[in-house]
């Protein structure tokens, strides 16, 4: 058994377990605030999975996608392409985190408004109330 795939599999599988637990939190727990906390965990885990897709195994080690020699000689660029990780998932996740915070703030506003009108954040009580 190779050790490096084993350790990397642990990372991927624990992210799957985190997705399962946060989905339980979103669907089953009664409190709206607990649902919001679970939703943040869910979106963070999905973002991490996207980053994991862009990771690579390189000899001797992977490097961040930043050119550090200016001007870059062709020899350096060839080595850079062989070593650097995929920058595209990082660029997509970068915007997703900040936009996710704004959308989540909107969800918090709605939760606060529900509490102001109905006086509770428990979904079972809210579903029983009318008007």
């Amino acid at each position: 058994m190779e050790v490096e795939p084993f350790l990397f599999n642990i990372v991927v599988l624990s992210l799957f377990v985190n997705i399962a637990m946060s989905l339980y939190g979103v669907f089953v727990r009664p409190s709206l605030i607990k649902k919001i906390i679970s939703l943040t965990i869910f979106s963070d885990t999905i973002n991490t999975l996207v980053i994991v897709v862009g990771f690579r195994h390189a000899i001797p080690n992977p490097i961040p996608p930043v050119v550090i020699e200016i001007p870059p000689p062709p020899q350096y660029l060839r080595q850079f392409v062989l070593q650097a990780v995929d920058p595209l998932p990082q660029a997509l996740v970068l915007t997703a985190i900040v936009i996710g915070l704004a959308v989540l703030l909107f969800l918090m506003f709605t939760t606060l408004q529900i509490y102001r009108i109905y006086g509770t954040t428990d979904v079972r009580k809210i579903s029983r109330l009318r008007g």
Binding site: V3, E4, L7, F8, I10, V11, S14, L15, V17, N18, M21, S22, Y24, G25, R29, P30, S31, I33, K34, I36, I37, S38, T40, I41, D44, T45, N47, T48, I51, V52, G54, F55, P60, N61, P62, I63, P64, P65, V66, A84, V85, Q90, A91, V93, L94, I97, V98, L101, L104, L105, M108, T111, L112, Y115, T120, T121, D122, K125
Partner: protein, 83 residues
């Protein structure tokens, strides 16, 4: 390079227990704190996955702003999850 993988696996395994505690905890303030610990572990994971940009975004957003906003929301509404 092996150390990288070991640290990645350790932070991912720790995040399982913290996420579990954050989901089942009745006291919402404790749940928010566990969620912040999970954010810190994920930030460490991003750093090890060679994504320094995400690391820089995630530290203020995940550890600072999320936690502060959820704590303010709990202060304004109710602290314990009813049964």
């Amino acid at each position: 390079m092996m150390l990288h993988y070991i640290l990645m696996a350790l932070s991912a395994l720790l995040s399982i227990s913290v996420v579990y505690l954050a989901i089942v905890e009745r006291d919402l303030i404790k749940a928010a704190i566990f969620s912040a610990v999970q954010s810190a572990l994920y930030a460490f994971l991003y750093y090890l996955l060679m994504a320094p940009d995400i690391f820089l975004t995630y530290i203020p957003v995940g550890v600072g702003l999320y936690t502060a906003l959820i704590l303010i929301l709990i202060k304004k509404t109710e602290r314990y999850e009813g049964e």
